[in-house]
C-alpha cells in the first residue's frame, strides 16, 4: 500500500509478484464468471426446469433436494425451490442493479456539486451525507418501507436512498482535489459553463473510483434487499426474492434445513462475487479508497 514498504524478495513461490497479482485477479475473474453465470441462469434457467416457480403441489411438500425432478427440493407449499431460486435471483439482482444506478447518480450529483462549489453548499450537502450515515441503514430502511407501501420499485428506491452517501463522499473528495488543476482552470478561462466543467470535464476523470464504488454498491444493495425481505418488509410474495425465500425458513429449520441453506448460499455467492470484482477493479484501476 505505502511506497515506503520494501517488497521482500520472493523466496516462496506464492510470494512472487506475478502469483500475487494472478491470485487477486483470479478472484475478480472468478467473481465475474460467477455473476455472468448467475445472470444467465436466472434469465434462461426457469425455461429449462421441469417445474414452474408458482406451481403448487401439496403432495410434494418438503421434498428434500435431489428428489426426482426437484433438484433443490420443495418448499412448504410444494413449489420447486430451484425454479423459485432462479426467479428470485432475477428480482434480487435487478433490485441490486437498479438501486446501484440510482445511488450512483444521486451520489455523483451531490458529490460533484459539493466538491466543485465548496463553501456553504459543500457544508450543507456533506453534513446531510453525515446525517444519513448516522442512521443504521436497516432502521431507516424499515421505517421508510413501513411508511411507503412496499412495491418492488419502492424498495429499490429506498435501498438507493440509504446507499448514495459513500459515493457522494468519494466523488466530493476527488472533485475537490481535481478542481484546482490546470485543465479545469483553463476550462474556466475559456468561459465554459459550471455544469459543463462539473459534468463534462471533471466527471470523466473520476470514473475509476466511481466504477469501484458502483460494484461494491451492488453487493450492498443485494444484501440489504435480503435483510428487509427476510424481515417481511421488503419484496412481497408471491414475487420471490432471495430474502423473502428465507422469511419463514426458521420455523422449518429442524425438519427442512434446505429451505434456509439454499437461498443463503445464493446470496453469499452473488454478494461475494461483486466484492471480489470490486477488489480486483480497485487494483486494476489503481484506486485508493477506504470502503469495506
Amino acid at each position: 500500500m505505502t511506497a515506503l514498504t520494501v517488497q521482500p524478495t520472493a523466496n516462496r513461490w506464492w510470494q512472487s509478484r506475478v502469483v500475487q497479482r494472478f491470485i487477486r485477479h483470479k478472484l475478480a475473474l472468478l467473481g465475474l464468471v460467477m455473476i455472468v453465470f448467475l445472470t444467465l441462469a436466472c434469465a434462461f434457467g426457469p425455461y429449462l426446469l421441469p417445474y414452474d416457480s408458482l406451481y403448487i403441489d401439496l403432495r410434494a411438500r418438503f421434498a428434500p433436494p435431489l428428489t426426482g425432478e426437484h433438484y433443490l427440493g420443495t418448499d412448504p407449499l410444494g413449489r420447486d425451490i430451484a425454479a423459485r431460486l432462479l426467479m428470485a435471483g432475477r428480482v434480487s439482482l435487478l433490485v441490486g442493479f437498479i438501486s446501484m444506478i440510482l445511488a450512483i447518480v444521486v451520489g455523483m450529483i451531490v458529490g460533484v456539486i459539493a466538491g466543485y462549489r465548496g463553501g456553504w453548499i459543500n457544508i450543507i450537502l456533506m453534513r446531510t451525507v453525515d446525517g444519513f450515515l448516522s442512521f443504521p441503514s436497516i432502521f431507516l430502511l424499515l421505517a421508510l418501507a413501513a411508511a411507503l407501501k412496499p412495491s418492488a420499485m419502492m424498495i429499490t428506491v429506498i435501498i438507493a436512498l440509504t446507499g448514495w452517501m459513500e459515493v457522494a463522499r468519494i466523488v466530493e473528495a476527488e472533485v475537490r482535489s481535481l478542481k484546482e488543476r490546470e485543465f479545469i482552470l483553463a476550462g474556466r478561462m475559456l468561459g465554459l459553463s459550471r455544469a459543463h466543467i462539473m459534468f463534462r470535464e471533471i466527471l470523466p476523470n473520476i470514473m475509476g473510483p466511481i466504477i469501484v464504488a458502483a460494484t461494491l454498491t451492488v453487493a450492498r444493495a443485494i444484501l440489504l434487499e435480503a435483510y428487509v425481505s427476510f424481515l417481511g418488509f421488503g419484496i412481497q410474495p408471491p414475487l420471490p426474492s432471495w430474502g423473502n425465500m428465507l422469511n419463514g425458513a426458521q420455523q422449518y429449520l429442524a425438519s427442512a434445513p434446505w429451505l434456509a441453506i439454499i437461498p443463503g448460499i445464493a446470496i453469499t455467492i452473488a454478494v461475494s462475487s461483486f466484492n471480489f470484482i470490486g477488489d480486483g477493479l480497485r487494483d486494476a484501476l489503481d484506486v485508493r479508497i477506504d470502503t469495506v
Binding site: 521482500p8 506464492w14 450515515l133 436497516i138 435480503a226 435483510y227 418488509f233 443463503g264 477506504d290 469495506v292
Partner: protein, 316 residues
C-alpha cells in the same frame, strides 16, 4: 485542544439538527403522519380527526411543527407508545440493556480476533495466512448476518445441542452462567462481519505504522522485533481504530436488529420490528432518532478519546 473540542461539539450539534430534519421528514411520510393513532380508529369521523389535528397543531406551517417536535424531543418528551401506553423513552430504556449487552460482547470478540488477524496479516504479509484472511474477510462481509445466525442455530443448537437456539435466559434460571450460555451464539454471529472489517482496517493501519520512521529508529536502536511490533507499531495502529469503532456503530446496530430477530433476543432491534408490525410509530420514530443520536454521541466520544490519547492533538 479546547479549540478542537469546541469545533467538534459544534459539528455534532449541527449534525443533530440535520438528523432531526431527516427524522421529521420520515415521520411525516408515515401513513397518517403524527395522526397515525387516530387514522386507524374506525369509530372516528373526519370531523373528529380534523378537530384533533387542530388541537395537535397540525394545521400550522410545517416549520413551526418541526420546531415544536424537535423542542419536545430535546425536553425528553418522545411521545407515548400506542401499544402499551408508556412513554417511548421508558419503553426504549427497558430494551436497551439487552442490546448493549449483545453489542458489547460481540465488539469484544470482533476487536480481539480482528486485531490479532490484522496484525498477523501485516507482519506476515503475502503469507498463506494473509491470503486466507483477506479472502475470508471478503466472504464474511458477503454473508447475510441473519443467514449465518440460522446456520449457527442449525449446527450448534439443533444438531449438536451445545447452545440454546434463542432467548436471553431460560425462564426460572436467572444465573449469570445461563445468561452467558445464551449470549455466545448471537454474539459470535453479530461479530463475524465486524471481525472482517476490523481485521482489514487493522492490517492497513499496521502496515502504515510499520513503514514509519520511528519504527526504523526503534529497530536501529536494537529493540527486539517483538517489542517493536507490540509497543511501537500496534500502539500507533490502534489509534485510528478508536475512530473506526465509533463509525461502525450504525452497522453494529443494523446487525443487532437482525441478530435479535433470529435469536428472539429482547433488545431494541426486536422492539423496532414488533413496533413496526403493530404500527406503533412513536416507538419506531423514537428508536430511529435514538440510534442516530447514539451514533453521533459515540463518534464524538471516539474523537475525544483520540484527542486525549494522541499527543499531536492533545498538545496542539
Amino acid at each position: 485542544m479546547p479549540a478542537f473540542l469546541l469545533k467538534r461539539l459544534i459539528q455534532s450539534i449541527f449534525l443533530l439538527v440535520i438528523v432531526s430534519i431527516i427524522g421529521f421528514v420520515v415521520l411525516n411520510l408515515m401513513p397518517g403522519g403524527p395522526m397515525a393513532q387516530y387514522a386507524l380508529d374506525p369509530g372516528m369521523t373526519q370531523d373528529d380527526r380534523n378537530r384533533i389535528a387542530e388541537q395537535l397543531g397540525l394545521n400550522r406551517p410545517l416549520w413551526v411543527q418541526y420546531f415544536d417536535w424537535a423542542g419536545r424531543l430535546v425536553q425528553g418528551d418522545w411521545g407515548t407508545s400506542f401499544r402499551d401506553g408508556n412513554p417511548v423513552t421508558t419503553v426504549i430504556g427497558r430494551h436497551m440493556f439487552a442490546t448493549l449487552l449483545l453489542m458489547g460482547s460481540s465488539t469484544a470478540i470482533a476487536v480481539g480476533i480482528g486485531t490479532w488477524i490484522g496484525i498477523r496479516g501485516a507482519t506476515h504479509r503475502h503469507s498463506i495466512f494473509d491470503y486466507v484472511a483477506t479472502i475470508g474477510a471478503m466472504v464474511a462481509l458477503s454473508i447475510p448476518t441473519f443467514w449465518f445466525g440460522l446456520i449457527g442455530i442449525y449446527v450448534f443448537a439443533l444438531k449438536l445441542g451445545w447452545l440454546p437456539a434463542g432467548n436471553m435466559y431460560t425462564i426460572g434460571d436467572g444465573s449469570v452462567l445461563n445468561y452467558l450460555h445464551h449470549l455466545i451464539l448471537p454474539s459470535v454471529v453479530l461479530a463475524l462481519v465486524h471481525i472482517a472489517i476490523w481485521s482489514r482496517f487493522m492490517r492497513a493501519a499496521t502496515l502504515d505504522a510499520i513503514s514509519q520512521e520511528f519504527v526504523k529508529t526503534a529497530r536501529a536502536k536494537g529493540v527486539s522485533e517483538r517489542r517493536v511490533i507490540m509497543k511501537h507499531v500496534v500502539g500507533n495502529a490502534l489509534l485510528p481504530m478508536i475512530t473506526l469503532a465509533g463509525v461502525q456503530l450504525p452497522s453494529l446496530l443494523t446487525g443487532a436488529l437482525v441478530t435479535e430477530t433470529v435469536f428472539t433476543w429482547p433488545g431494541m432491534g426486536r422492539l423496532f420490528l414488533d413496533s413496526l408490525s403493530y404500527s406503533d410509530y412513536p416507538v419506531v420514530m423514537g428508536l430511529l432518532m435514538f440510534s442516530a443520536i447514539l451514533t453521533i454521541i459515540a463518534n464524538l466520544i471516539a474523537d475525544i478519546i483520540v484527542a486525549l490519547v494522541d499527543p499531536r492533538i492533545r498538545l496542539a
